[in-house]
């Protein structure tokens, strides 16, 4: 990416379709935190979905069309692209290259985009070099490693550092912190039985940790975890890391 001198860093928000339609407060929290850190934030209004659901379901032809559309929207090389999801970031950063490997122009664009696209927590720690955003939250908090963030993007410590820096937090690591919660997109609907038994192990882990709040970086996982906890009336609060970091800012 072109050097942004010492001037203000610019971010194009990549708001996932889940966040846009179901959890808009997560997007708002991101904006709040980024602005607090002196970043100029923009939202390219033409964006829709990055194509991951189709890609993961084997419909690569359809995913490719959406990938190309996405590339044309996030073309400005002077902006970082920041996303509140490890999974959607992985799609853009890693799988677009896979999807477009036979098209030289597409591949070049995908490469350039990949180099300036970041998951939210990784952007704060690795680009802005911030660990304490100045938030405060009182509670016992545990963290769920979302699979794509952990295993495709290799981000493990970054979100933990951010969480631990929030004033008033008692951080506790749960037993199966890095085990999949069983969401997996369409997997949760194609194989509901398997998905739920994976989720049940995860919930046991959360409850046993004694935490009153579970934080993660992906609304997919959190929607899944919350869906079962709310049905079972388990009083653990679910929070996206952006919401936590925006607390009392």
């Amino acid at each position: 990416m072109r050097q942004q001198n010492q001037s203000k860093k610019k971010v194009s928000l990549f708001i996932t379709c889940l966040v846009d339609n179901f959890f808009p407060q997560v997007g708002e929290s991101m904006v709040k935190v980024l602005r607090k850190l002196g970043v100029e934030v923009d939202f390219p209004v033409d964006q829709t979905c990055c194509g991951q659901p189709a890609f993961n379901s084997g419909f690569q032809h359809d995913a490719k069309a959406l990938a190309k559309r996405f590339l044309s929207i996030f073309q400005d090389d002077n902006c970082y692209v920041v996303c509140p999801s490890g999974s959607c970031t992985t799609m853009v950063k890693i799988f677009y290259r896979e999807l477009l490997k036979e098209e030289s122009r597409g591949l070049e664009l995908a490469d350039r985009l990949a180099s300036r696209t970041y998951e939210f927590s990784a952007f704060l720690t690795n680009v802005l070099h911030v660990e304490d955003v100045g938030a405060s939250y009182s509670g016992k908090v545990t963290y769920h490693d979302s699979c794509h963030l952990l295993r495709e993007l290799r981000i493990r410590d970054e979100p933990r550092k951010l969480i631990k820096s929030v004033k008033g937090i008692d951080f506790v690591e749960m037993n199966l912190h890095d085990a999949c919660c069983g969401f997996g997109g369409t997997f949760s609907i194609m194989f509901p039985g398997v998905s739920i038994s994976m989720l049940e192990e995860k919930i046991i882990s959360i409850v046993e940790s004694g935490a009153d709040t579970i934080v993660s970086t992906d609304m997919g996982c959190l929607m899944h975890i919350e869906g079962a906890m709310s049905r079972r009336k388990i009083p653990v609060k679910v929070m996206h890391i952006a919401e936590l970091l925006a607390s009392e800012l």
Binding site: S57, G58, G182, G184, F187, M223
Partner: protein
């Protein structure tokens, strides 16, 4: 040997109701995982070994005909015979023939996934030859007339009580409850089989091209007996088991054993180079190596999925896989289970026989993280999903995906390709959800297929004002 279409969803649903099975799976996979982790942590440079193992596998698989040719030449040079089999049937025919030529009436077998794959026991039985599995787990499975449910622990799904019952019934012995008693019975029975068998059949963990040596890794000593006591030894391997050099074993042995059981080295490692020589005290008079393709050449031809052939059958991916942990090996329907089964079964049998398997994963990638040769499981799974959907046509028509699914994806894509349509869909969803919205602002009972979610989980409500609409306000601040 006609294989029916495998039904993961159906079989896994049954498995999920079996509490004993799930408990056994949790206990054993936890134990294996902990041991692997300890073994991984204590060996400095394990990561380098894995990288090196992957490189060697890559080099071998990319030049497979050369190394297989070298292996053949060296096995012959040391007095062994080499047989090539295109498929399972041919492999069985060859082995039955060797048995007949040698007047073999009984065979002892050591654990081998390749012979499970070709259903050798069945073929031997049909030819009137008795075949006895001598690995304890495999012996249990044979008595129960089942398939193994784990690559290295074939009877992982059976509890001690299951085994007590099975032994009492099939071996006409009292209902023993102590593992020691059960093991003693098996040992006594098997001992006489070893002594009376005319032929021993083993698998191959590694076949060294440069020396013609086959290597067998085990913990019970049964493979060592099977390969040395009977007059004839037949080793069966898939084409991918070859490695170039003897020295490569210093990399593969530690990564295999540590990944599989967390041991530094297994109790026995046998290096077998040809039949007994004049100066040898014991060993078989004949050594046959059967090299089986059975669908592997097809995998070799595909650049996208070729790395499936790097697998050294350690089972680490099964132990770490959260899906395998819930449903066990039999849900995968064929010989190989867990993540490796999900990628090689559809390739060996054809996608049309196992269209559900590439989807039977949440793509969490834990398998890739533990794989000793770093197979990129998610990448291969995604490629196989594409093949299931597209079939032979690259334009997305003609695969296994149903018309309705195709139509839904197309409609979804069209609505995602335009900001207006996307926005419309979003508004429409907001209003459409009202009949299902419960008091706590959740969707708790949606119609099919969404009911597959809401039967056990709440679904969040669509927001009244999505982020894109809020942006107008936010951007002004």
């Amino acid at each position: 040997m006609e294989i029916k279409k495998l039904e993961f969803k159906k079989q896994s649903s049954t498995a999920l109701t079996d509490q004993n099975l799930r408990k056994a799976l949790r206990n054993t996979t936890d134990r294996f995982r902990a041991s692997r982790k300890r073994a991984y942590d204590e060996l400095e440079g394990f990561e380098d070994l894995r990288n090196r193992a992957r490189e060697i596998k890559k080099e071998t698989i990319e030049n497979l005909p050369i190394y297989l040719g070298m292996l053949e030449g060296n096995v012959i040079k040391t007095g062994g015979k080499v047989h090539w089999a295109q498929d399972g049937e041919e492999a069985c025919r060859i082995i039955v023939e060797i048995a007949r030529e040698n007047g073999v009436r009984s065979v002892v077998k050591s654990k081998s996934m390749a012979t499970e794959e070709i259903e050798l026991n069945h073929a031997l039985e049909e030819a009137g030859i008795k075949a006895v599995e001598t690995d304890l787990g495999e012996y249990i499975i044979q008595l129960a007339k089942e398939r193994p449910s784990h690559i290295i622990a074939p009877a992982i799904h059976k509890s001690k009580d299951d085994i007590s019952r099975l032994f009492s019934e099939k071996l006409s012995i009292p209902y023993y409850t102590e593992p020691e008693q059960l093991t003693r019975v098996a040992r006594e029975r098997l001992r006489s089989e070893f002594l009376s068998a005319d032929m021993g059949v083993s698998g191959v963990n590694f076949a060294v091209a440069e020396t013609g040596t086959i290597v067998v890794v085990e913990n019970e000593g049964n493979a060592r007996l099977s390969t040395t006591v009977p007059r004839v030894h037949v080793a069966v391997m898939g084409i991918e088991k070859v490695i170039p050099r003897y020295g490569d074993l210093s990399i593969f042995l530690p990564v295999l054993v540590r990944s599989a059981t967390g041991q530094k080295i297994s109790t026995y490692v046998s290096f077998i180079t040809g039949p007994k020589r004049k100066s040898d005290m014991d060993g078989p008079e004949e050594f046959h190596l059967v090299i089986v393709d059975n669908g592997r050449a097809k995998i070799l031809a595909s650049e996208e999925t070729r790395e499936s052939l790097y697998c050294i059958r350690c089972g680490a991916c099964l132990n770490i896989c959260p899906v395998y942990r819930q449903v066990g090996g039999h849900s995968y329907g064929w010989v190989y289970s867990g993540p490796i089964g999900a990628i090689i079964t559809p390739q060996l049998l054809g996608a049309e026989k196992a269209p559900e398997l590439p989807f039977a994963s949440s793509l969490c990638g834990a398998c890739k993280d533990v794989c000793p040769v770093k197979i990129d499981f998610p990448k291969v799974l995604l490629e196989l999903r594409k093949r299931v959907v597209e079939g032979e046509n690259k334009d997305g028509r003609g695969g296994e995906a149903g018309l309705l699914e195709r139509l839904l994806v197309r409609l979804w894509r069209i609505s995602m390709e335009s900001k207006t349509a996307y926005s419309l869909l979003s508004t429409l969803s907001y209003f459409l959800q009202f009949p299902w919205l419960s008091k706590n602002r959740k969707l708790s009972s949606l119609p099919y297929p969404f009911s597959e979610w809401t039967n056990d989980r709440d679904f969040p409500a669509v927001a009244k004002i999505p982020f894109r609409k809020r942006w107008k306000e936010i951007s002004k601040i």
